[in-house]
Amino acid sequence: MRKKGRATRRQFLKTVAATAIFPSTFSLSKETEGKTEAVGVATPSSQQPLTPSAAAEALGELVRIRYGRFLTEEQLAEVKRQIERSLRSAERLRSFPLTNADEPDLIFRAMP
């Protein structure tokens, strides 16, 4: 069994490659949207167990490489599920049509 926090670079790149082939195709359903409330009351999410996609596994490997020494296997598995939820949110956002002219809601000022 592989030791916690010891993914090789080759293993990591292999997983990243799989991500490109099998991108996350899930998105949050309309039913769960209203429940995604960060901070005020944590994030009541679906009770259904989430299986991390290849993309979540890949990003989870990044976490393992960088921070695996701080995490148990159980915690790392939960981190991957959280990453999966985040990826599904991002997927839903990507389905929202934007044009090149849509700037982010951030203002940069040259003056100090």
Partner: protein, 469 residues
């Protein structure tokens, strides 16, 4: 007047007693200090009681008032702040064990402005660790233990401004300052049966406040009445060169505002879907009261936009950046809530393009919500679909099948618009429910006027929890 009665008066009522010298700021401060010491631990509401500072500020207020130098409605009024506001020489813990010995050498702008108004800081109040940014899922998410609503100690006071909500509801302070990134003022206001105002983004300086999410964080008043929220907001609002996000607008408020014309209020479509029966009943009763002052339009649909996802990705990314040092040090492991011990790691993997995509959609959200809100003085909905969650139970398991509905809290926060939660009755287990009013950017006066009218017709804000029975 009995001490117990005095402790539950509104700021405006206390101010009248102080100005007319029927109550001394020092006596009032001592009353609240005693209540903080005696009842604060039961509620898990207090981190630090600021005895020396409070008594010094109270004595100063008393001297000034005796000399006829009355500063205004907050002069001599004791208050507490959520323990994420810097206070010079006093610990500021952010509710989190890794920061329990943190001390700043300056005051947050809000604390400074309240001092200038003559208010008396009596306590740093408990909060969910790191304002909930790491994804907690039970009430036990602070090194001070779970916050408890004074209405039923087996239930949570809400988060992340847990202590601010409980302390106001229990008469431990005359008012408190809370913060909201997405729901952290409104939720404890509803769960504790008080009035909580989330101001427009930028109206109140955040200098000296813990940063969780630079583009979403707001500070606001938590009080026993909507009128009091107006009084406090007037003291803390306005441009601050130390906070570049603050805007050059000052909120002014002195006499209690009431609607000067018939208002137009929309009920958010789906607001009563999957809510607890008492929440529905109380909301419908509140609508009947508001009809005296407003034309009510039912079934106003929120624009179909991904509010929750936008807020979630922004909080995850900005929160991970704000606490990168903590995450990379491995000290997340010291946090109380098991979910908080790992939440930051997922945040570290949010892609920059996804974060920016969320910020690009946010422009559309602001425009769409403003288009809709411009047609109403306020949109209304129950603040929460349920009463407070039981302590010791994961939030998502507390009330199976209940919850959801329109994403008004993330929508309002993504757009940066103001909202006010006021108590509108009680539900199961003797717990309060709340009514949420949301308006256009900088429409705080309108929301307060409508809420004042509601509170003139009802007495939910006058009810006291059975804490000392």
């Amino acid at each position: 007047m009995r001490d117990q009665d005095l402790a539950f008066l509104s700021i405006r009522e206390l101010a009248q007693l102080i100005r007319s010298r029927r109550v001394s700021p020092v006596e009032l401060t001592q009353l609240y200090l005693e209540r903080l010491e005696r009842l604060g631990p039961k509620l898990g509401a207090v981190v630090t009681i600021t005895h020396e500072l409070a008594l010094a500020q109270a004595r100063r207020a008393e001297r000034e008032i005796m000399r006829g130098q009355y500063r205004g409605l907050l002069h001599g009024i004791p208050y507490g702040v959520k323990d994420l506001l810097a206070t010079k020489g006093i610990p500021t813990t952010w509710g989190a064990a890794p920061y329990r010995n943190q001390v700043f050498d300056y005051d947050a702008t809000v604390v400074r402005r309240l001092e200038r108004a003559g208010a008396v800081l009596v306590a740093k109040l408990a909060m969910v660790e790191l304002a909930g940014g790491m994804g907690y899922n039970t009430a036990d998410a602070s090194f001070t233990g779970p916050g408890r609503t004074p209405w039923n100690l087996e239930y949570w006071s809400g988060g992340s401004s847990s202590g601010s909500g409980a302390a106001v509801a229990a008469g431990l302070v005359a008012f408190a300052i809370g913060s909201e990134t997405s729901g952290s003022i409104l939720t404890p206001a509803a769960f504790c049966g008080i009035s909580g105002l989330r101001p427009t983004y930028g109206l109140v300086s955040r200098y000296g406040a813990m940063a969780l999410c630079w583009t979403l964080d707001k500070l606001g008043p938590m009080c026993r009445t909507a009128d009091d929220c107006g009084i406090v907001l007037a003291a803390i609002s306005g441009k601050d060169p130390k906070d570049p996000s603050s805007v050059a607008r000052k909120f002014t408020y002195s006499v209690p505002l009431l609607p000067t014309r018939r208002m137009r209020v929309g009920i958010v479509k789906g607001a009563l879907e999957r809510v607890q029966p008492e929440v529905q009943k109380n909301f419908e009763a509140a609508v009947e009261v508001l009809k005296k002052y407003a034309t009510i339009e039912p079934e106003v649909a929120l624009p179909d936009l991904p509010y929750g996802q936008v807020v979630g990705i922004i909080v995850n990314a900005e929160g991970a950046s704000a606490f990168r040092d903590l995450i990379e040090s491995g000290r997340l492991a010291e946090l109380q809530n098991p979910r908080d011990r790992i939440g930051g790691y997922a945040g570290m993997t949010v892609l920059a393009v996804d974060y920016l995509h969320a910020q690009r959609i946010r422009v559309r959200i602001r425009q769409a919500l403003d288009d809709m809100l411009s047609r109403y003085d306020a949109l209304i909905a129950p603040t929460r679909a349920t009463v407070a969650y039981p302590i010791g139970v994961e939030f998502e398991r507390a009330y199976p099948g209940v919850g959801g509905g329109p994403a008004l809290i993330p929508a309002g926060n993504a757009a940066g618009v103001p909202a006010l939660s006021i108590p509108n009755g009680f539900g199961q287990a003797g717990l309060p429910t709340g009514l949420q009013l949301v308006g256009r950017a900088f429409s705080e006066a309108t929301l307060i006027a409508l809420a004042n009218a509601y509170q003139r017709e009802t007495d939910w804000h006058r009810r006291r929890p059975p804490l000392e029975a």
